[in-house]
Amino acid sequence: MTVSVERKGAALARPGGMRASGFSMRTKRLLWVWGFLALPILFYSVIRFYPTLQAFWLSLTNWDLLRPAKFIGFTNYTKLFSDPQFWKVFKNTFTYLILGTPISLVLAFAIAFFLDRVRFLHGFIRALYFLPYLTTAAAMAWVWRWFYQPPPIGIINDVFGMLGLPQQPFIRSTDQALYSIMVTAIWAGLGFQIIIFMAGLRAISTTFYEAARIDGLGEWAILRKITLPLLKPTTVFLVVFSSIGFLRIFDQVYNMTTNDPGGPLGSTKPLVLMIYQTAFNSYAMGYAAAQTVVLFTILLIVSLLQLWILREKK
């Protein structure tokens, strides 16, 4: 097959051959490429881009699933921006992002950095860190939910009791609930980030380190001058990936607070949960679409901003 194609190619390359088949080699290649690309493009257009555009349109309507959608201009947006509930949710979402992303990345890097040097039981320890990532978020959230219970059933409070520390309300408190849930989300995502960081660390050629050591650089300098800069592509990927994850946090919150979703008093509610409730509890689809557009815009801005800040400076 390849042989015949090459022969044809050779024939086409000769003057006059082009006219015989009607297309140049270049055009043929392009046709092939686009032929293969057409399928995913079509797929994405139908199941991604079309619904996205549809959501933009819906956000300008009062659609409630039951009656035909009516165009109402920017009413949904003005309602959203004047809703104190939205600003609370907005603040919660950014708390998850601004604290969650750096903490999880620093932790993941530190663990990956040291785990990389461990030879004893290396595979086992790595598996232990990765395990939570494989577990269903819902199952994990429920286990943590029970850990956080007040006495007599919460394990953490039991331990506090034994150590003589005061009991904590955790997810029953408006001050602690968000952080209690954030800890579980960080813990759950850690394994994945460690694996990616370790792959990044392994990809750095050991010759750089050898050269640095011969030149007499200390460990700290090696970390700052060699490891971190060369790890930048990995870091950029993880920052973007983890930020999007925290901006879209839902499973942990929903499952840890099912009796009072996003509570108590909305103190743990992220934007995605608000969208879910607006759409599937109140059936205000138009209003939910407006919230989705806002979330989309935030995700877009945050991602572009990060790519720009962490860009390769030439």
Partner: protein
């Protein structure tokens, strides 16, 4: 020759099959998945088909969380059930969306409905029309743990009858450890469970108020009655320390585990509590106030006919709905699901009223109220937040009530079709 006979037989077989198919009407029935309900409905359908061989009923179920969305989405696609189950609180939405048709008055005459069913079926009436009828209804009662009663020196055969007795019993049962943590609750406090109904339809009325006016479209609890009711409720945790919101995660879990002396819950919890092996429990009517005023909250899933059903299917659907709301079906439902018959005659039999478990629920039905929720989830959330502001943030009961009343009015106004 043998082949020919065989062929003739086959043809005959097919033709009778085809003939039957032409005669038979198939209707679709939708409800949500709940094991005992699905089993009971399968039995009812089998009985119905035996009596009506020309009708087949296709039973379709969905998980509860998806159920409403499925019904609405199917309707948009021009499909969906002929007869469907719906929570009474969804009626406004379903009527506004033209999902349902009024019950034909020839099969379901209004005077019959009003005289034979419990008055709470009026929640299915809009304008001059009834849009559905329930097979079974649910009410609330006080469950109590006889073992904890005995341990606390209380008479397990004489459960509290008034709110004062309720508090006194709970105070005796509640236990705390050295640092003041609750280890056994006197009674559960769980606004996310049934307590918000207790507060709304029972406590407010016992303190002399009515939670809503104008067909439940005007919030009417930002007053002394509402304040007193919420004060009583929150004082159970803050002052009397007989329970704690979030204790053992959920009220029903605490009671099941034998860690709570009492809990207020509905008939729908009977199935789950019947599997308790560690202790004996009893049921009694919700406590009355000092003047003997009682109230209760009743709710139900009704069965209704889809707006698009017509012709033969409509006739078959009418027959099926009539069967589902017959005393016979109600008896079976009570036995299999544990929910109370919606007809007085089927419910208030000597045997049922004397039943130690069904009796208190049935007596509660006589004076029960049914809130006409506009957005059930949001109104429930509002009550949870109202209690949490007092319990967690130390807001004054007066301010919390005021805020809750304003917020709920907004929810009701926004949900108006």
């Amino acid at each position: 020759m043998r082949k020919a006979t065989l062929f003739a037989g086959l043809v005959a077989g097919f033709s009778t099959f085809a003939f039957n198919a032409a005669q038979a009407v198939e209707i679709e029935y939708w409800q949500y998945v709940f094991d005992t309900r699905v089993k009971a409905m399968d039995q009812l359908i089998a009985e119905f088909q035996k009596a009506n061989p020309d009708i087949t009923v296709k039973h379709v179920t969905f998980p509860y969380a998806d159920y409403q969305t499925r019904v609405i989405a199917a309707n948009m696609a021009g499909q969906g059930p002929d007869v469907m189950q719906l929570f009474y609180g969804w009626l406004d939405k379903f009527v506004a969306g033209e999902l349902l048709q009024p019950l034909p008055a020839d099969t379901f005459p209004h005077d019959k409905i009003e005289s034979e069913f419990f008055p709470i079926v009026s929640a299915m009436k809009r304008g001059e029309d009834y849009y559905g009828l329930p097979t079974a209804v649910r009410s609330l009662a006080l469950f109590y743990n006889k073992k904890l009663f005995t341990e606390a020196g209380l008479d397990p055969n004489n459960p509290p009858k008034t709110l004062d007795e309720f508090v006194a019993a709970a105070e005796k049962i509640a236990k705390h450890d050295a640092s003041g943590n609750l280890t056994v609750a006197g009674s559960t406090l769980d606004m996310g469970g049934q307590d918000h109904q207790w507060w709304r339809e029972v406590l407010i009325r016992q303190y002399g108020g009515t939670p809503y006016t104008d067909n439940d479209e005007k919030v009417n609890y930002d007053n002394e009655a509402g304040i007193q009711a919420l004060k009583f409720y929150t004082s159970l945790q803050l002052e009397k320390k007989i329970g704690q919101a979030g204790f053992m995660d959920e009220g029903q879990a605490a009671f099941r585990a034998g860690m709570a002396g009492m809990t207020i819950d509905g008939t729908f919890r009977l199935g789950s509590f019947k599997t308790i092996k560690d202790f004996e429990w009893g049921v009694t009517e919700l406590p009355a106030n000092a003047e003997g005023v009682r109230s209760n909250y009743a709710s139900y899933f009704a069965n209704a006919i889809s707006a698009k059903t017509e012709g033969e299917e409509l006739e078959a659907s009418k027959k099926f709905l009539a069967y589902l709301t017959s005393p016979e079906a109600m008896d079976l439902w009570l036995k299999e699901v544990g929910e109370l018959p919606a007809r007085r005659s089927a419910a208030l039999t000597e045997k049922n009223v004397q039943d130690p478990i069904y009796g208190p629920f049935l007596r509660g039905l006589e004076y029960a109220h049914t809130t006409l929720f506009k957005d059930e989830a949001a109104q429930r959330q509002n009550a949870i937040d109202m209690a949490n502001r007092v319990l967690l943030e130390g807001q004054s009961v007066e301010d919390s009530i005021k805020q809750a009343a304003e917020a709920e009015q907004e929810i009701i106004d926004a949900a108006k079709p």
